[in-house]
């Protein structure tokens, strides 16, 4: 078994906000009928979370479930638990219309933290980042400059991002440049 490493192996940048690559994170793409009781039970059994409302995410310990689209969720879990998670979901959901895939190694995760963390996003994404419009528990898929990304806020001073692993370098450069000291807006 090869030794899995995250794309930037924990790279960080200190600007007016701190940017950190987060290392390995387990991620499962789960598609199906979100309103179906059996589907919800399968999600709860694995994660302890309810199926989130539109554009929301639910967090329980090491697990989180994010709303990706009307028929898709993203389950976040420890990297080592993703494969078993897919197996468990597949077993419970077998016979229904669903898809479960381990996408952990196709993604990168970043954290932006600091007083003005919201400003870093405001510069890069067409999203209203005022505290009234976006806060803890919200989840948003959008673009970061020219690449797709999704983010949520674990707390009011921290934003976590997911992007494709293949653009991790680009996203790290974007975030770092946007957080350059002295460039608050």
């Amino acid at each position: 078994m090869s030794n899995a490493v995250s794309p930037l192996q924990g790279a960080s940048f200190d600007g007016f906000a701190r940017i950190e690559e987060q290392g390995l994170r387990g991620m499962i793409t789960l598609r199906g009928d979100l309103a179906d009781g059996g589907f919800g039970k399968a999600v709860a059994a694995l994660t302890g979370c309810d199926v989130p409302d539109t554009r929301r995410c639910e967090v329980k310990g090491d697990y989180a479930v994010a709303w990706m689209s009307p028929d898709e969720l993203l389950i976040l879990c420890p990297h080592s638990a993703a494969e078993a998670g897919v197996a468990q979901l597949s077993k419970v959901l077998s016979g229904t219309h669903y898809l479960a895939a381990n996408v952990s190694d196709a993604r990168a995760v970043f954290r932006v933290s600091g007083e003005d963390a919201r400003q870093v996003i405001s510069k890069l994404a067409p999203v209203d980042m005022s505290p009234e419009a976006f806060g803890a528990g919200d989840f948003r898929r959008t673009r970061l400059a020219q690449t797709p990304a999704a983010f949520w806020m674990p707390n009011d001073k921290t934003i976590e991002f997911i992007c494709f692993r293949s653009v991790a370098d680009y996203v790290f450069a974007l975030l770092s440049r946007a957080a350059t000291p002295g460039t608050q807006v």
Binding site: T54, S69, P70, P126, R141, P148
Partner: protein, 109 residues
């Protein structure tokens, strides 16, 4: 900038989050169609100054296709609606009639 509300995730998405999908409500011609009908399906498009119906995809978002009714002259957006329909819903057509009495587009009015 054009802003459309995605009917699937509710986001007011600006143009940079969207991918344009061309004219809406095109009926696909297939095996057995006459040459004229197939040409119509493949090449002939509305090009109105005014009310228009289009397909858009929330590409940098929830990923879903949807429909939009808007005015090509003023960029006013009359509304967006589900992709799972072959014609504009009544509430959208009523809204357009309020603002553009007597409008017509293809087979709809």
């Amino acid at each position: 900038m054009l802003i459309l509300r995605c009917p699937y995730c509710g986001v007011d998405a600006d143009e940079t989050e969207l991918a344009a999908g061309g004219q809406a409500h095109i009926k696909r011609e297939t095996v057995g169609a006459s040459d004229e009908a197939f040409e119509e399906y493949l090449f002939m498009r509305e090009n109105p100054k005014g009310v228009h119906f289009e397909r858009w995809r929330h590409a940098n978002g929830c990923g879903k296709w949807f429909h939009a009714a808007r005015c090509t002259e003023t960029l006013e957006v009359f509304g967006t609606y589900s992709a799972q329909t072959t014609e504009p819903p009544k509430e959208i057509r009523d809204k357009i009639s309020e603002k553009r009495p007597g409008w017509s587009w293809g087979e709809f009015s």
